[in-house]
Symmetry: C2
Subunit: 148 residues, 2 copies
């Protein structure tokens, strides 16, 4: 009962998938290592772009706990990329909003990172790129299923 062919195929796919995950972590590290803004900070900063986000919401969206978000926010504030202000509707809450410098930093970091990745993807064949493109929405779906 442990040799169901369908299950075997699924487990084999899972194994390959796990290897890809591991590689992704590696690629991310590489991406991070050549930038001034870490992925963690970039993620927080992006949420602070439009109007202002609450700390709890940022943490939830990034899949980390509130203190971890606070930590990044404090760093970004120190760098002048976001400002923190009391939420007018709820004095317990804090609204985090990107400054002009913060918006510029996001744009620059995003561009640099995209160019790095585009450089890699550009070296692939068109069919390879198509395969990646087709898989990306599925990856997205997988992530949501893991959510929480």
């Amino acid at each position: 009962m442990n040799t169901n062919p369908a299950d075997d195929a699924l487990l084999a796919l899972a194994q390959s998938f796990r290897e890809a995950l591991r590689q992704s972590v590696y690629v991310m590290r590489r991406l991070d290592s050549e930038e001034q803004l870490s992925s963690a900070q970039l993620g927080v900063l992006k949420m602070a772009l439009d109007g202002g986000a609450r700390v709890g919401g940022i943490a939830r969206n990034l899949g980390v706990k509130v203190p971890s978000a606070t930590e990044q926010i404090i760093k970004l504030e120190g760098a002048g990329l976001v400002k923190r202000e009391a939420d007018p509707d709820d004095s317990r809450a804090v609204r985090v909003a990107a400054t002009a410098a913060g918006r510029a930093a996001v744009e620059k970091a995003d561009r640099r990172r995209n160019e790095f990745i585009a450089g890699i993807l550009g070296a692939l064949s068109q069919s390879e790129r198509d395969a990646v493109q087709a898989a990306l929405p599925v990856f997205d779906k997988i992530n949501h299923s893991v959510q929480y």
Copy 2:
């Protein structure tokens, strides 16, 4: 010159790809958080499975520096999952070999992790799984191109 359609498509793909990378990190964290053996340790342990690997080789294969590998090896040794012995051919080198307990731990961790992922993949449609399957070799290729 910044509106080359091909470049734009590539950059858009890169952007989506980056999002997938971020999600992958998230999924990996989730995977790690419910296991006794961390991914870092599992990676090292797997290399120690057949016969015995050298510290430098392990580090190179995992894309980390030698001291980082040593750190994990020491932990695994403390847990009785690997043993370290001088390389008979080169006394500078150390051969790291999995113990019986180490082999069992790899099997168990691999099985649990694969089952977790298989559970997610199993909830997808066949065409979605096909898309993932088709993209995995490309991910592999991408990783190698980032290597070093």
